[in-house]
């Protein structure tokens, strides 16, 4: 078994605020094996996007700070690198694609120019070579008539094609790790399937390892091998996809799975998780999920459950995970 391509340990991100620092990502740890597709699942506010942006040190505002953590890619610890070295890491070792391609593409540059820019910066090739390679990359991501498209501007492309273009830009530097932040959420279902298929093909062909951020468990089921579920800044469960979907070992994962429509009988009441995710300024003591949990016991309010080993490579941050495994 080869070493993981990415190892994150105790990553913590805090926001400065008048009332004291707010912890948006709290000691998150996970590993990514070579060729693996890891699904990072959570609802809005769970910290999944922030975690990945913190990984590559692209924090959204000056008020956000990484206060702890080690991020190992190969022999490097990304947290200790100077910014100039990080610029090489971004794009050459870790690439990222985002949810809304229209806002992440430069509207005044052609697609070819944008891919070329990444190629020239990361690979140091000439402008002419870059143009040719850009067309090749567009072909690899399945854009029809790539030579023509290379000279087009983002606004003349459809949503699915823009997303493909963004993937091409991200892969220009030939990174081995790709972070995909909700790449299909803004796309139609039929196009979504195509893009997910493309990501998997790229994984097979180019040996990519992918972190797929999503809130859609269906996407997870069809594309991911391992899943990490996040809630209020922490990972609450980590397991192989099949194991998680068949038998979740954390009440939040369980609630999430059950509240998907399509899981239960039509027209019946959907089991839903009561309440709402907590605000960062007002986090519950102990387990952050306990105010909404059906399995809560007094201990849940007192101690912060560790991400414990739940057997067979699984992890769960629930004190009562064993009871969830074998309901009496």
């Amino acid at each position: 078994m080869s070493a993981p391509v990415l190892r994150v340990e105790d990553l913590t991100v805090e926001f400065t605020a008048p009332g004291g620092p707010l912890r948006a990502v709290d000691e998150v740890s996970f590993e990514l094996a070579e060729g693996e597709v890891l699904g990072l699942v959570g609802e809005s506010g769970s910290g999944k996007t922030l975690t990945c942006r913190a990984l590559i040190r692209l924090l959204p505002s000056r008020r956000a700070r990484i206060t702890r953590g080690v991020v190992r890619v190969g022999e490097l610890d990304l947290m200790t690198l100077p910014e100039s070295a990080m610029q090489r890491v971004r794009g050459e070792r870790i690439g990222m694609i985002f949810q809304n391609p229209m806002t992440h593409l430069d509207p005044v540059m052609t697609i070819g120019e944008q891919i070329g820019e990444s190629l020239r910066f990361h690979k140091g090739i000439t402008r002419r070579d870059a143009a040719g390679r850009a067309v090749e990359l567009l072909r690899q991501v399945g854009i029809p008539d790539p030579a023509l498209r290379s000279r087009s501007y983002p606004h003349s492309l459809s949503g699915g094609m823009r997303q493909r273009a963004m993937i091409a830009i991200a892969l220009a530097g030939e990174p081995r790790i790709l972070i995909a932040d909700e790449p299909t959420t803004a796309l139609d279902v039929t196009v979504q399937a195509q893009i997910l298929r493309l990501l998997l093909d790229l994984r097979d062909r180019a040996g990519l390892s992918i972190i797929l951020i999503t809130h859609d468990l269906g996407v997870v089921a069809e594309t991911c091998e391992t899943v990490a579920v996040m809630y209020a800044g922490r990972i609450v469960e980590r397991a192989a996809k099949r194991a998680l979907l068949r038998a979740p070992l954390h009440p939040y994962s369980q609630g999430l799975i059950r509240s998907q429509p399509g899981a239960g009988a039509p027209l019946a009441e959907l089991p839903s998780i009561p309440g709402q995710p907590p605000s960062l300024a007002d986090l519950p003591q102990g387990c952050r999920f306990h105010p909404r949990c059906a399995y809560v016991i007094p201990r849940c309010r007192e101690i912060r459950p560790p991400l414990a080993d739940a057997g067979a490579g699984r992890r769960s941050a629930c004190l009562r995970w064993q009871e969830l495994a074998c309901p009496s």
Partner: protein
């Protein structure tokens, strides 16, 4: 009120003590508000604070440099400069406020009508705006004032006829955007009539950029007012007004620099106060200029 408030399904819920005010006030807002309050107090309490009658001539003490008796010196008529500056605050503050309020109201009314109803009304209005903007505004104001009688009222008329266009454009732009917003669509689906939608739903939201703009507009109006008065077309002597004072003192600039310098400084400081206020308000309300 619960300290944690939620923002649009977003990842962070930062602590805000209240929707407005308390919590984090940008520094410019505090500085600007402080300065404006200072000048307002001066204007209100002018009679009490000023050591001398601003119009009392004392030929024995004419052209006296700043000293213990007259902190800012006296002018060529022996009038105390400090008292005149203090009293001048009234005139300039009044010019600034009324000179902004009138164009604000006129511009808002016309702009919202144009934006909401669109079509021919909008086209006509926008062409009028285009024509008005084509003229340098000071030139246009001088022309208007010359036609009417020089004086403060004429100044207000002129500044209204010239200044409404900025507000009209701002409000119209906002109205156009808000017209297609979801909550206005919801208001229509609830059967609300045009008037209700315009006044209760669109206008309160459309006014925010105008309010922020008006703060910096006060600066321009005060400067325009001083310039107009300097030219003898606005506030008439012997009323104390900073522009008038500068005009009267310009012959003595080399010999008695204090007569022009202090009113000039006052203009700058008042303008600065409003400028800070505008910046701070803009930052607080999330409007970028």
């Amino acid at each position: 009120m619960r300290s944690g408030e939620r923002l649009a399904g977003g990842p962070l819920s930062l602590s805000l003590a209240a929707r407005f005010g308390l919590g984090e006030l940008p520094l410019p807002l505090l500085i600007g508000a402080g300065m404006v309050l200072f000048w307002s107090a001066l204007a209100l309490l002018a009679d009490v604070i000023a050591p001398f009658d601003p119009n009392a001539a004392d030929y024995d003490a004419a052209l006296v440099p700043p000293n213990a008796a007259h902190w800012l010196g006296t002018d060529n008529f022996g009038r105390d400069v400090l008292s005149r500056v203090i009293h001048g605050t009234r005139a300039d503050l009044q010019m600034g406020i009324i000179g902004v309020l009138c164009p604000f109201v006129l511009g808002t009314v016309l702009g919202s009508i144009a934006g909401y109803f669109g079509g021919a009304v909008d086209t006509v209005l926008m062409r009028v705006v285009d024509v008005t903007i084509a003229f340098p505004f000071l030139v246009l104001m001088i022309a208007i004032i010359t036609v009417l009688e020089p004086g403060l009222t004429s100044f207000y008329v002129a500044v209204t006829l010239v200044g409404w266009v900025s507000y009209a454009r701002l409000v119209r732009a906002q109205t156009l955007v808000l017209k297609s917003s979801d909550f206005v669509l919801a208001a229509r689906s609830l059967g609300y009539g045009h008037l209700r939608i315009m006044f209760r739903h669109i206008l309160p939201n459309a006014l925010i950029p105008s309010v922020v703009f008006s703060m910096s507009d006060v600066v321009l109006v005060i400067l325009a007012g001083s310039a107009i008065s300097y030219l003898g077309l606005g506030v008439q002597p012997p009323t104390a007004e900073w522009g008038v004072m500068i005009a009267e003192g310009q012959n003595f600039m080399t010999t008695a620099w204090w007569i022009t310098t202090f009113p000039g400084l006052a203009i700058v400081l008042l303008a600065l106060g409003f400028s800070f206020l505008a910046d701070g308000l803009g930052e607080k309300l999330g409007v970028r200029e």
